[in-house]
């Protein structure tokens, strides 16, 4: 016999009150990053010593621009989930924990918005 209330069971949150959402997001973003990181590594090696024009040409290719945008966004999502665990593990004050979590989220959003803007600017008008 379970001691859980029906509401608790329906919500499926467990004792940490956040359920398995964080766990799943971390795994799904990790799996998505495997092929994207391999693509990024091959691309980075291919751009070693490249001049500005060649780099611009590479990143203006639609497929490369889309893959780079996906890489940066999913990377930042995965990074936010990972840094959240590190902050929650080592920072115990409620105020400082909340402050660092918000600062970290602010950083990931700023980095993502800036990277997407840069990629749009590289792609240029049609």
């Amino acid at each position: 016999m379970s001691l859980e209330t029906p509401l608790h069971r329906v919500q499926g949150m467990g004792s940490a009150h956040s359920g398995v959402g964080h766990f799943w997001r971390q795994r799904v973003t990790a799996a998505a990053l495997i092929p994207l990181t391999i693509w990024f590594g091959i691309s980075a090696l291919g751009l070693v010593g490249a001049h500005e024009a060649a780099t611009l040409a590479f990143l203006s290719q639609p497929l490369n621009a889309i893959l780079m945008a996906a890489f940066v966004v999913i990377l930042l999502f995965h990074l936010a989930l990972g840094l959240q665990v590190i902050i929650e593990d080592y920072v115990h004050g409620n105020g400082s924990k909340l402050f660092l979590l918000l600062l970290m989220r602010g950083f990931t959003i700023a980095a993502g918005a800036t990277s997407i803007f840069a990629l749009l600017r590289i792609a240029g008008p049609l």
């Binding site: 990790a30 090696l45 500005e52 611009l56 780079m68 940066v72 990277s115 990629l119």
Partner: protein
């Protein structure tokens, strides 16, 4: 009562401090996964900077490339290359565990050593290819 000497504190047994354990490979790889993850988070700033530099014209682009070419820049890039290789390979090891594979202690020890050795090899091969002129095939 005030001049009563304090009794000598009893020496109580302590559990061994983390510093005196021989580190099992699984513990070292776990800690390294978190450290490389944190390091790569900082390295994302470089990725973002590179994209902005490419988008901002020849001057910022050349500044970025010149800084990356300095010995310190190359050391930092090698560090991030190794960290990315390690976090990728050890991440695959973690995903295998999540699917229920590779939990036996001898297996976990073997895959741990495999991940450390291959991450170093991958990073060295990547830099070897770049330095021997086998990179730069997209220009």
């Amino acid at each position: 009562m005030a001049d009563t000497p304090h009794p000598a504190p009893r020496v109580r047994p302590l559990s061994p401090h983390i510093g005196i354990y021989r580190w099992p490979i699984t513990m070292a790889t776990s800690i390294a996964h978190r450290v490389t993850g944190g390091g790569l988070a900082a390295g994302t700033v470089l990725l973002c900077w590179w994209l902005v530099a490419v988008a901002s014209g020849p001057q910022p682009f050349n500044t970025f490339v010149a800084l990356a070419a300095t010995p310190l820049g190359q050391l930092v890039l090698f560090g991030f290359t190794w960290a990315l290789c390690y976090h990728l390979l050890n991440g695959i090891r973690h995903l295998a565990w999540d699917l229920g594979y590779g939990f036996a202690v001898p297996t976990a020890n073997r895959t741990g050593i495999l991940v450390v050795v291959s991450s170093v090899l991958l990073a060295v091969i990547a830099f070897g290819l770049a330095y021997s002129g086998h990179g730069g095939y997209y220009q």
